[in-house]
Each structure stands twice: as structure tokens, then as C-alpha cells.
Symmetry: C2
Subunit: 405 residues, 2 copies
């Protein structure tokens, strides 16, 4: 752990934690960004292969670029440092082991087995530094019958059953999924959580740990009671859909309403001008509403059809009925609550162009948030070798000459 000079930056939750970040693509970089957002020093270790192009730094289409950067990379790599290091050479590995001695965490999302081939698996690294915490994120886990399979987000959404949980009505039978990389990012989140829990545990024992996160496990964990039905009852059911919970058609478009609880049900009836529904034995108690769901649903839509979704939003919000319009992303980000929560932040690029990023959702006191754009490739190579490892200039020059760094 790095000793900081005294300043506010000293006091962030993860100040002083050094993370060697070998992750690429989505889930891993998301997890390491979470660590960086709470003050950890995250050093991306990029290989010459990445510099040559097999990287999410690559801008495939200039139209996708924001201030010359790939938008995906930009979204996932703020507040990090970058060094270039060739782990496939013996000299590069020596530099990596020197880094491991100074670091707290090594974080990768290679396919299972790659870290071992690079001489950078937990068994090896824990001999170099017994306190090191190694976290790997893989599609299916570090071992098991499918551990070698390549996995991308939608593969995992499909395999895990998550895709089957999209409440679709597409008559073609075409599967439907979230374009947001839920599996990748939830996997990265479990990884960041496991890493910090291991850091906390190490305070008592001094010993590092291995954290092994699979995207498939991550999605399965989120299935909750939907997973328990087939396991325990041999059937699947959908408790939520049987209540007053969903998308109701207003005059112009759908509005989301949740009136599954007694209090909200009463609020909804009154807001729609039908207090008598709250005492109608056809719809009370709850079990009767479940029996007559279709009837009450069409009565509700009959009333909603008289006004626009936006008008009903006003009425239902005042009546304390949980409700929502289905926002586009642009609408969501322009929402006054989003602004109030600082979920959009502006950063200046080196050339002075303002770039907007999404904020940090982990609002934590005394975190002294900072936002810096992703580093240029190898931007911090000299700084890290000099300041963190204390290498003399001559050694750094030789490593550069030999293209190790």
C-alpha cells in the first residue's frame, strides 16, 4: 500500500490501495473503475498486443468516437493510470513481480488458464507477495466443464436464464435481451465487492486471497425466487405479473404503474375517480384482485385512455402511486433528479474539449470525488517505474529499448 502525503485525497475509502489492472473489454474494467472511483490507484497494464490493436481502445468507426476516444473505453476507464508492459517476456514478468510486491490487488478477466501461462496466477503471485489479492473474472469460472468457452455478455444472458426473464411478447419467438451489458457489469461489480471484502479481511490476518468470479454465477445469483421455484417446486411461476404491476396503456402511450400493495391500490382507485373499487368484493381482498386481474386491468385502462401518460404521471404522483414513463436514455439523463444526484459529470480533455461522463453511483461521505479521463496508452509507464518501483533511469531506458515497456 502506497503512503500518501497528507491531503484530503488521503482520506478516501480506498486511498493507498494499488490495483494492477489487467482487465479489458467490459466487466473487468467496470469493476476496476469502481475501485478507482473510491480512491484506489488503478494501474492498467496494457500489452504491446493491445497497443497494436486487439483492444477496446480501438475506435472501429470514427462516428463512435467522443473527443477522439472510443466511447466504450471512455465509459469504463476513467481515473486510471496506464503502463505498457510485455508479460510474455522474462524481463516483463520481472517488472510485473516487482509491481506485485508493491501492490494490493491483481485483477484480470482473461479466459481461464491465461494467467497461469503468463506466470501471474495466484499461486505464483502469493509467493511473491503473500498479501496479494488476485481476482479473476471469467465467463463460466476458473474450472468446470465449460470453463474454456468464450463468453460475451449476451452469451451469458442467454445461458443463465436471464434472457428468458425478459417479459416479452414477440410473436416470432425471437429472444429479447438487454443491450446494456448486465452480465458483464454485474460480474465486475461482484468482483469489486469481493476484492474490497478481501482487503478488509486482510487487515486482521495480513493474508491475501483469491477471488474467482464467473459471469454465469453472477446472473444466476440475481434470479432470486424465480430460481427457487424450479429447484423446489418443479414449476416456474411469475408472482409479480399476477399482481397490478406493469405497463398500462394511456391515451398516447404506456405508463408503468405499481399498485400491488393494499395502500397503493387504494391510492390508485381514488386517483382514477373510482373509490368504490376499494370496497368492491370482486376486487377485495388482494386474493380477489388476483382472481379477477384481467377485469380490473381493463377497467383501469378504460379510465387511463382518457388522458395522456404525462397527464396521468402528474395525477398519480400526487396520489402517491408508484408510476413512471418509459424514458429514453437522453430523457433519463436530462431528468432533474439525475442532475441533482450528479450522475452526469463534465471533464476537460487534454485538448480542452469538454467531455461528459456518467457519475459514480456509490455516494459515500468524504470520498472527495474526482473524475479524470482515461489515460493515454502507456501514459504513466515512466512515472510508475520511477516513483512506485524506484527503478533508475538507466534501467527504464533499457526496458524501453528492449520494448519490454
Amino acid at each position: 500500500m502506497r503512503q500518501h502525503s497528507h491531503s484530503k485525497q488521503n482520506n478516501r475509502p480506498l486511498s493507498g490501495v494499488i490495483v494492477l489492472d489487467l482487465t479489458r473489454a467490459t466487466g473487468g474494467p467496470y469493476g476496476s473503475m469502481m475501485l478507482a472511483d473510491l480512491g484506489a490507484e488503478v494501474i492498467k497494464i496494457e500489452t504491446p498486443e493491445l497497443a497494436r490493436g486487439v483492444s477496446s481502445r480501438v475506435v472501429y468507426d470514427p462516428d463512435y468516437a467522443i473527443a477522439g476516444e472510443d466511447a466504450h473505453f471512455l465509459a469504463l476507464n476513467r481515473n486510471k493510470k496506464s503502463i505498457v508492459l510485455d508479460l510474455q517476456t522474462a524481463a516483463g514478468r520481472e517488472v510485473f513481480y516487482d509491481l506485485t510486491r508493491k501492490a494490493d490487488v491483481v485483477f484480470d478477466n482473461f479466459r481461464a488458464g491465461v494467467m497461469k501461462r503468463l506466470g501471474a496466477d495466484y499461486e505464483t503471485l502469493s509467493k511473491v507477495n503473500p498479501g496479494i489479492i488476485c481476482c479473476s473474472v471469467t465467463g463460466f469460472g476458473s474450472s468446470g466443464p465449460h470453463c474454456d468457452r468464450p463468453a460475451f455478455d449476451i452469451v451469458v444472458q442467454a445461458v443463465s436464464g436471464m434472457m428468458s426473464m425478459i417479459d416479452k411478447r414477440d410473436p416470432s419467438g425471437r429472444p429479447v435481451w438487454s443491450r446494456v451489458a448486465i452480465a458483464d457489469q454485474v460480474g465486475g461489480m461482484f468482483a469489486a465487492y469481493g476484492i474490497v471484502a478481501a482487503l478488509y479481511g486482510r487487515e486482521r490476518t495480513g493474508k491475501g486471497r483469491q477471488v474467482d468470479i464467473a459471469l454465469q454465477d453472477s446472473m444466476i445469483a440475481l434470479l432470486m425466487e424465480y430460481g427457487l421455484y424450479p429447484l423446489n417446486c418443479g414449476f416456474f411461476r411469475d408472482p409479480v405479473a399476477s399482481l397490478l404491476w406493469g405497463a398500462f396503456k394511456a391515451k398516447d402511450k404506456h405508463i408503468i404503474i405499481c399498485a400491488h400493495r393494499e395502500g397503493f391500490w387504494g391510492n390508485l382507485c381514488r386517483a382514477l375517480g373510482h373509490e368504490e373499487w376499494t370496497t368492491d368484493p370482486k376486487f377485495n381482498p388482494l386474493s380477489r384482485r388476483m382472481d379477477n386481474k384481467d377485469e380490473i386491468w381493463s377497467l383501469i385502462e378504460g379510465v387511463l385512455g382518457s388522458r395522456s401518460a404525462a397527464e396521468w404521471m402528474e395525477v398519480l404522483t400526487v396520489a402517491d402511486v408508484p408510476c413512471a414513463l418509459v424514458n429514453s436514455i437522453a430523457e433519463a439523463l436530462a431528468d432533474p433528479q439525475t442532475t441533482h444526484r450528479e450522475m452526469v459529470v463534465e471533464v476537460k480533455s487534454p485538448s480542452g474539449v469538454p467531455v461528459k461522463l456518467l457519475g459514480n453511483p456509490v455516494k459515500i461521505s468524504d470520498n472527495h470525488e474526482v473524475f479524470e479521463l482515461p489515460p493515454a496508452l502507456g501514459q504513466h509507464t515512466g512515472e510508475v517505474l520511477r516513483d512506485l518501483l524506484g527503478y533508475p533511469e538507466e534501467k527504464i531506458r533499457r526496458l524501453r529499448q528492449d520494448k519490454v515497456v
Copy 2:
């Protein structure tokens, strides 16, 4: 922090951490279960109101029950303790403050303002215990123009723009969402992460912190580059959908294939018996495939139509093309990799009935995993008052008599 007797249980990442868990419904209990799964002592504090019914303990429909328990509650509350405590009485608050003196974390997901009314906000509790970490999960945050609005999972999926990211083709315009409570659970995950980061930070400073998690922020954070386009370019685009990434129709049903990268594209062409596509100038380089996406897509489906999705799974897996069938939840949980990863665990209920639960996705060395069914309401009231607080039997008897506990 509780001192444990020496045992393996001592050595779990969060051993000794005491969490006062006021959460209910989904997101909060999911977050506190994550803490319990890594060894924290999570004490659910349930109120007499909850005992009377306004609780996710309630089994609305006996068909939903598993071993007599509500499946939703069962899925979210393993490995916890339960005490009943009336926070609306002065005597109950005194007990709560005594608990706060012994605890590390207070975790709630009431609507904004409720904890203050209960005298249990961070400002008050940090005077009782300056090291206390208070985490609140709300729909929209602790302040701001919409902070008072009630929020359930689909409300947040809608407001945040997440629902707009479901790649739907429903011609009716009916919005489509994930029945899995992504917003709730991702919010709970950020909360657990923030809590553990605060615990780690406290090791250096001794000071607690306040963690303020909003479900809406949590969903916005996951939007990644999809959020950056409208913010920086004034337009929305879908980079992934423009590549060979999605659901392709085989003879019987769809199969998910990802061939967006050069290597996988070559593997796919060879697996389909069309190596010549890899050199066809119409489809190479990548930018040409993007131009002619529809043509290559229908060529691929033309070949896939000759065999079933299951047959193609075999062929494509051998060829190292990322691919998947769209599993039901039952299929996902029966997958041999799921078994290998211990993502299904079996626990015995007090009456001896075996109950299956989903496993812990945070696989971490020396965690000595245990799985215990959720506690009965108030099961640990006596134990906690006696062992943790050291209350004499007479005092406990009086508190019971006065219905404070």
C-alpha cells in the same frame, strides 16, 4: 466489532462485522445477504408492523410457498438473524442505540426521511458511535426533487432509460422489461460495495461514513457508452447491434452468436463451411461487414437453417465461436457448469425438509461458506439482547412485557 472465539469462522472476509439490518423488500435484503455470505453477522431488525403483515415475509398465496416460507423472502434472507424491535417507542430506540454502540453498520432502505423520523439517521447515530457506517438505499436518493417518490424495480427500470435498452421488436409499442429486479439488486450490490469500502477506510481513520445509494443512479451507472452518446454527440446509437452479435435463427429456434471480432468471424465462417467469406471483399475488412450486415446475416441464417440450434451449439463450440442457447431458468440451473460452481445449494429446514437455494457468486478463498435458512421472526431477540448487549434477564422480560421487543 464482535470478538469471535478462534475457529475457521474467524477467518472469513467479513468475520466480526455486525450489521443492523432494517431493510425490507428486495434491494436492501439482497445487499445485506451479500455481507452475510462473506461472514458478517447480519441482524434483521423487524418491527411489530412487519410482524402484523406489512412484510415480504407474508405468503400471499400458499402456492408460492416453499417449506412454508415465501419464496421471495427465502431467496433474500439466508444467513441472517432476526430480532423484533419497536423503533417507534423511546424504549425501543434506546435498545437500538445500544445495538448501534456494538455495531459496525446500520443498513436501511426506507423512503428518504424515515430514518430521521425514527431518530436513526447518520447524524444521530454517529454521535452514539462515531465509527458507525450508515447506508441507505432509496429509489431516487436522499434528497432532490423526486426523492419522495415511491419506487419499485420497474419504475426505476423505466425512469432510468434501462427499459428503453431492451432490444425489443414488439410492434404494439408495449414496453418490455426484465422480470428479474435488476434495479433493486444492482442497487443492493452498490450498497454492499460502499459499505465494505467504508469498513476498509475506517481501518485507517476510525471514522464511520454515510453511504447513500439510489436505485436510479445505479441503473444510470450501468448505461455506459449508451449514456455517453446523447451527452456528448446529441444522438443515440447502438454500436453492438451493428456487428455480428445477436440471435440467429436455426432450423428449430434461435441461437445466440457473437462473431463481432476478427478471430471469431473467421471461426464462424469455417464452422459454417464458408471459408471463402473470410476473404470476400464484400465482407472484409470489418467495416465492409458493417456496410453489408444484412446480406451476411441472411447468408449465415441460410446455412443455420439446415440444422437444429442444439446441433449448431456443438459445431460452434468446437470451433471456438461464442454461442449459446436461450436457457429457461430450469435449464440454466441444471447446467453442469452451474453444478460445478455450486450455484445451487441444499439446506435442511427446521422440520427436516430439504430446501434448495441459489449459491453465493462471490467465490473467495477461505470463506468457509455456510448456508442457513432465513430466521423465524424474532428468533434471535433473546440471544442478541443477552449476548451482544449483555442485558440482564429481568430487563429483557420487561422489554417483552412492554412489547418493545
